[in-house]
């Protein structure tokens, strides 16, 4: 008990509990982002997959342009474009099986659409007639999450629940470089690693959080290095190389599915447009930087690979372009129609059963609308 009684032989033994819980070496990301296009690795890529990625990239670019145009016409409240980031958006959607779940961040409308959600329903939030426009269960796509990083623990919980139920389901969660600073970014991968939940975290490092450049966001060697602190592998990938992003994500999904636990992937990309249509990017960055990145365009990179390998010709390019135009025209037409609005919907889904208080309020609004509808009541 007393200190003196404890004296005895000199014992330089290590403290009892020490043992690294994981071998850190395999967790560390490579020094350079992984690339496929324009490298030897490209030879191994599946031509069908590359062609499919290409078609989706072209459509995705067009979708972004159309949606931005719709904001100018007052048909969308706001649109955060993912132009320049299409490789990440598309690969994230395509890498998943039907039974898997996607957890998009607010900028990821494109991933949502590429996953199969109706292009108009995907825009409901941004048009402003409702919040989430699609049924998350239909395509297993969680609501576009505006509060940054908050969707990450959801993905972990869902993946964990699926595993507990014995279902073979993987969740892929998307977040931006800025979002990695939030506490929820920390808590989610920690839970995932402790639970060995089948989840893949995809960080799109597009260089900015609105106006704030990465250097003001983190001093980490890379965002992928954060994985080490959770005991999961970190992977660094060229986010504009659709083949590379797809491959790295596919590896991670496979690993998760096999019970190998979560992976954190950092995709290095660039937000070519302003933060949203309402933002003025010239306040915080120069044209030169944007131009450099345009030289590393995800569509151009893939197009070159495909044409160099004879997998794509002018006709194929033209046909991809046409498909994109057809999609855009349809989107335009649908978005130019006013959405059906029913103010009574405000009260319909707050609870399974409205509270007495909400019933009172609903009837108040109903009466007001009835009065408004009467000629003399109209304003």
């Amino acid at each position: 008990m007393t200190v003196m009684e404890q004296r005895g032989a000199y014992r330089p033994t290590p403290p009892p509990a020490w043992q690294p819980r994981t071998d850190p070496a395999p967790l560390l990301p490579d020094a350079e982002p992984y690339r496929v296009l324009g490298t030897e690795a490209a030879a191994g890529a599946d031509p069908e997959l590359l062609r499919r990625l290409y078609a989706e990239l072209v459509k995705g670019r067009r979708y972004n342009a159309q949606a931005t145009a719709l904001t100018k016409q007052g048909r969308l409240a706001v649109y955060p474009s993912s132009t320049g980031q299409e490789a990440c958006e598309v690969a994230a959607a395509l890498v998943l099986e039907e039974r898997d779940w996607l957890f998009p961040s607010y900028r990821d409308t494109l991933a949502v659409v590429a996953r199969g959600v109706d292009p108009v329903e995907a825009l409901t939030l941004l048009r402003g007639d409702w919040h989430t426009g699609y049924d998350p269960h239909e395509h297993r796509v969680a609501p576009l999450s505006t509060p940054l990083a908050t969707q990450l623990p959801h993905a972990v919980g869902l993946a964990h629940a699926a595993r507990l139920k014995g279902d073979d389901v993987v969740a892929l969660a998307m977040v931006g470089d800025g979002g990695t600073s939030e506490g929820d970014f920390h808590e989610a991968p920690n839970f995932a690693a402790v639970w060995q939940a089948p989840v893949v975290f995809l960080v799109q490092n597009n260089g900015f959080a609105i106006s704030v450049p990465l250097a003001k966001q983190t001093a980490a060697p890379s965002l992928a290095h954060k994985a080490v602190g959770y005991g999961m592998p970190g992977r660094l990938v060229d986010g504009n190389d659709a083949a590379a992003v797809h491959e790295v994500l596919a590896d991670a999904v496979r690993r998760a599915r096999a019970g190998g636990g979560p992976t954190l992937v950092e995709a290095i990309t660039y937000r070519v447009e302003a933060h949203t249509n309402a933002d003025d990017a010239t306040r915080y960055r120069g044209d030169a930087e944007v131009e450099t990145w345009k030289q590393h365009d995800p569509i151009a990179l893939l197009e070159r690979e495909l044409t160099a390998r004879g997998l794509l010709d002018e006709t194929g390019i033209e046909s991809a372009r046409q498909d994109a135009e057809t999609m855009a025209a349809a989107l335009r037409a649908q978005m130019n129609q006013d959405p059906a609005l029913d103010p009574m919907d405000l009260f319909a889904h707050v609870y399974a059963e409205p509270t007495p208080q909400l019933i009172e309020q609903r009837e108040q609004l109903r009466a007001e609308l009835a009065a408004e509808a009467e000629p003399e009541g109209a304003q």
């Binding site: 409702w130 919040h131 989430t132 049924d135 998350p136 269960h137 969680a142 609501p143 509060p147 908050t150 990450l152 623990p153 959801h154 993905a155 972990v156 919980g157 869902l158 993946a159 964990h160 629940a161 699926a162 507990l164 139920k165 969740a171 506490g183 929820d184 920390h186 808590e187 989610a188 920690n190 839970f191 402790v194 919907d345 319909a348 889904h349 707050v350 609870y351 399974a352 509270t355 007495p356 208080q357």
Partner: protein, 334 residues
């Protein structure tokens, strides 16, 4: 409406039993939180659940409340019914964003496609000699957040019945457990089978004709005591236990106040911006012409919860309640 036979128990044990019965009845019910597994919770409310149902059904999580609630949201999305324990009132604050921006909004956001059947158990309130951050009354925050149900038992039977109802609810329920009643036994009748109590119904705990004490949770026994003491002063007080703050049972409360013509709202939470304002305002809106006096409030003071040695001065006690009753303008009567 399930009927379950129970043994004599404290409120803590009734809560345990409610979770146990819910877990036995429905394999989708999962309990999770800090220390809820092996230890059985710092208040022992989840005692035995991990042993009986395994660690996957009653899980010790990492120490991160936003992560606990956030992963519970994801589990609920996949069809589970998580029952989350927040270790203490003040330690639920890190999960506030998840609660307000997701838990409360998910059903509405998705037009009903993605309901979240989640129960969030929060031990709350003072009177147990806890050091700072261990005695907050945080119900005002939850009441002001549409999309949440807010429920709090005051009796052992209600602890069981309301927790079963909360777990069975298809909507998120913030279930506030009055810490200082965890070891109370008084109102529990072991012979009588305990039923699941529907959420949203207040109950008259004591009938009276002079005035109504409107209260809930930890203040219910105090009000019962005050009502007894009031007899000496010639007042016959009615005590209404709200049980559910959201939805609010205007009917029961207003029926009582219309009968008595006078009311005092009693709660431990700070007065300013606390639940009492809402309650007094809505009772007044509905019963104005029945009121002989303004609805008064007896509440905690508007300050950070006091240290243990001073908490008795803060908590609404019998004297303070009787004082307020005395100010209900009885002259007007005679």
């Amino acid at each position: 409406m399930t009927t379950v036979a129970v043994k004599p128990a404290t409120m803590a044990q009734a809560l345990t039993r409610a979770m146990r019965d819910a877990m036995a009845a429905d394999p989708s019910v999962h309990v999770m939180g800090e220390d809820v597994g092996t230890l059985g919770g710092v208040f022992r409310v989840t005692d035995g659940l991990a042993k009986e149902f395994g660690e996957d059904r009653c899980t010790d999580t990492p120490l991160a409340e936003a992560g606990i609630l956030g992963t519970a949201v994801g589990m609920a999305m996949y069809g589970l019914r998580p029952v989350v324990e927040m270790q203490f009132d003040a330690f639920a604050y890190p999960a506030f964003e998840q609660l307000v921006s997701h838990v409360a909004k998910m059903r509405n956001r998705t037009r009903g496609k993605m309901p979240l059947p989640l129960t969030i158990r929060v031990p709350y309130g003072g009177g147990i000699g806890g050091v700072e951050h261990h005695s907050d009354s945080s119900e005002a925050y939850y009441m002001a957040t549409p999309g949440l149900h807010v429920v709090t038992p005051a009796t052992v039977a209600d602890a069981y019945g309301l927790l079963r109802a909360a777990i069975a609810s298809d909507d998120p329920v913030v279930f506030l457990e009055p810490k200082r009643l965890y070891w109370s036994k008084d109102s529990w009748n072991p012979e009588e089978p305990t039923t699941v109590e529907p959420i949203g119904r207040a109950v008259v705990r004591r009938s009276g004709r002079s005035a109504t004490l409107i209260t809930y949770g930890p203040s219910v026994p105090v009000c019962m005591e005050a009502a007894e003491a009031a007899r000496a002063e010639g007042w016959d007080l009615e005590v209404v236990d709200l049980r559910s703050l959201v939805p609010f049972d205007d009917e029961t409360v207003c029926a009582s106040v219309r009968r008595t013509g006078r009311a005092v709202v009693v709660h431990e939470s700070g007065g300013f911006g606390g639940p009492g304002g809402e309650i007094a305002a809505r009772v007044t809106e509905r019963c104005f012409h029945h009121l002989e006096a303004p609805v008064l409030r007896v509440a905690g003071f508007d300050l950070p919860y006091p240290p243990p040695m001073l908490e008795r001065h803060h908590l609404p006690g019998v004297d303070r309640i009787l004082d307020a009753v005395g100010r209900l303008q009885w002259e007007a009567e005679s």
